[in-house]
């Protein structure tokens, strides 16, 4: 028995009414006296029905104050049958949406940078894409498969985080070149430069400080004297620090074309609906003009209908000299950026920039800036490695 329904009964001798209801099978959770003529009764729906019928029979005022619990919920659901259907639909859609993967994120861990394209291609090949069912995905098996197809990564981890598939990958540390003393090799120049210092660990130095070398020139020869008559090939080892230069340039005309409006203008307009258009007003064209276009919506958000109005202003064109100081400043930024890009492409990150300068030249109305970085770096490289870089 529970107090789902709260009733208010008014009348005299209500004790008899309660006794009668009890004898007919009703049970009351709470009976409370509000006043000498009023009782507040909490009862289950069946008992409330018995009591209401008795009150009706004896013409006693009986009011249902509130309904709670399961019976009230069922009555509410009967009144709003679509609510249950909506709730069930929502639950079904909710569970369906959360049983799928909607985001795939590939995150690189550690400080090293690498391309994630290999992992993306591998995921596509395995048919792992947004919208797939989570039940079809085995993260551990996917980890193993990704590790197998991407040797550039030392670690690949796969985690399912709700509707997100997180792939964490750590780029592998490239293995250092293997130094084998018995394999003969020479060290050659990686690029043109002037030798600053040379430090030979094995082999014979072929250049000395102050020499100018060109790309591919032998710097340390892998040769060792065994006897007075015989030599043997060994692997050359050492560092050769040289000054190298990297150039970048940028150019721009030293004049500016300026357009001033004469005051004459012409307007044309057309009505447009998606890709269809109807000419409303035809306009004139000028030999030199500045065109402004306006889109005036008519149908608002729901109908893509608008008027396209084009205003052509007649202009006079004249050429004036540019501000050389400002132009030089802008060109110097571009030229140094170009030189820096070439430097980063051809040299390791540990190279030391010792100097930099810029020169400007003017020829045929075009101002050209030439920026130069001077660096000090180890240019010794094995000949095989130089061939791999393009000879």
């Amino acid at each position: 028995m529970n107090g789902d329904v709260r009733l208010r009964v008014e009348g005299l001798m209500l004790e008899r009414l309660i006794q009668r209801a009890v004898s007919e099978g009703a049970r009351f959770h709470t009976v409370k006296r509000e006043s000498s003529r009023v009782l507040i009764i909490d009862a289950d729906p069946h008992s409330a029905q018995i009591l209401s019928a008795l009150c009706e029979r004896f013409s006693l005022p009986c009011t249902i104050l509130s309904r709670h619990g399961r019976s009230a919920m069922l009555r509410r659901l009967k009144r709003r049958a679509t609510l249950l259907a909506g709730a069930l639909t929502f639950a079904a859609v909710f569970s369906m949406l959360f049983s799928r993967i909607w985001m795939i994120d590939i995150v690189l861990t550690g400080s090293r940078d690498s391309e994630t394209r290999v992992l993306e291609q591998a995921l596509s090949a395995m048919d792992v894409k947004p919208g797939m069912s989570k039940a079809k995905l085995d993260p551990i098996a996917l980890e193993d498969a990704l590790s197998a197809v991407s040797p550039d990564f030392s670690f690949v981890g796969v985690q399912l985080q709700g509707v997100r598939l997180l792939v964490e990958a750590s780029p592998a540390i490239p293995a250092p070149p293997l130094y084998e003393l018995s394999v003969g090799r020479d060290l050659v120049a990686r690029c043109d430069g002037v030798i600053e210092s040379i430090h030979v660990l094995s082999g014979v130095a072929c250049v000395k400080p102050g020499d100018t070398v060109v790309r591919g020139q032998t710097l340390i020869r892998g040769d060792e004297r065994v006897t007075k008559e015989t030599n043997r090939s060994i692997s050359a080892l050492g560092t050769v620090i040289a000054r190298t230069w990297h150039e970048g340039s940028a150019s721009a005309p030293a004049t500016i074309i300026e357009e001033t409006r004469t005051g004459r203008f012409s307007q044309s307009s057309e009505l447009r609906l998606l890709k269809l258009s109807w000419q409303l007003v035809a306009g004139n064209q000028f030999a030199s003009q500045d065109v402004q276009e306006e889109l005036l919506p008519i149908g608002g958000l729901f109908l893509p209908l608008h008027i396209r109005r084009v205003t052509a202003y007649e202009t006079n064109v004249r050429t004036i000299p540019a501000d050389v100081t400002t132009l030089r400043k802008q060109l110097s930024h571009l030229a140094f950026a170009d030189a820096g890009m070439k430097l980063s492409q051809s040299h390791p990150a540990d190279c030391k920039i010792s100097d930099r300068w810029i020169e400007y030249t003017m020829a045929e109305g075009v101002l050209t800036a030439r920026a130069v970085y001077e660096t000090q770096t180890d240019i010794a490289i094995a000949r095989d490695a130089l061939y791999q870089q393009g000879g």
Partner: protein, 105 residues
């Protein structure tokens, strides 16, 4: 001098109005005619085997029993779990007046 000895009779012990053997006390307990009252502290009292509610106010609940009327006095009295022969009176109970055992009052 003759002494007159006055005989003093010892009064007979009065028998209880309902002589029952202790072994048969449970018969009246299961007959359903004897009211059973269980008080839990002074805020809750369970009354079983009553025959109806005679009167109910905030301060007094009067129940009919087979042997007469049972009164429970107190304040803020509420009837809980009202069933055909049993109910719980909840509130601050001050006094319970039992019906006489002999019969209806």
């Amino acid at each position: 001098m003759k002494e007159h000895h006055r005989k003093v009779k010892m009064p007979k012990a009065r028998k209880p109005s309902h002589p029952t053997a202790p072994a048969l006390e449970w018969l009246s307990d299961i007959s359903g005619r004897t009211v059973r009252i269980t008080a839990i502290g002074n805020q809750r009292i369970l009354i079983e085997n009553h025959t109806g509610i005679q009167d109910y106010t905030d301060e007094c609940v009067c129940l009919r029993t087979a042997t007469g009327l049972l009164h429970v006095h107190g304040y803020s009295l509420t009837l809980c779990e009202v069933r055909e022969n049993a109910l719980i009176i909840h509130g601050f109970i001050r006094q319970v007046d039992l019906p006489p055992e002999g019969g209806r009052r």
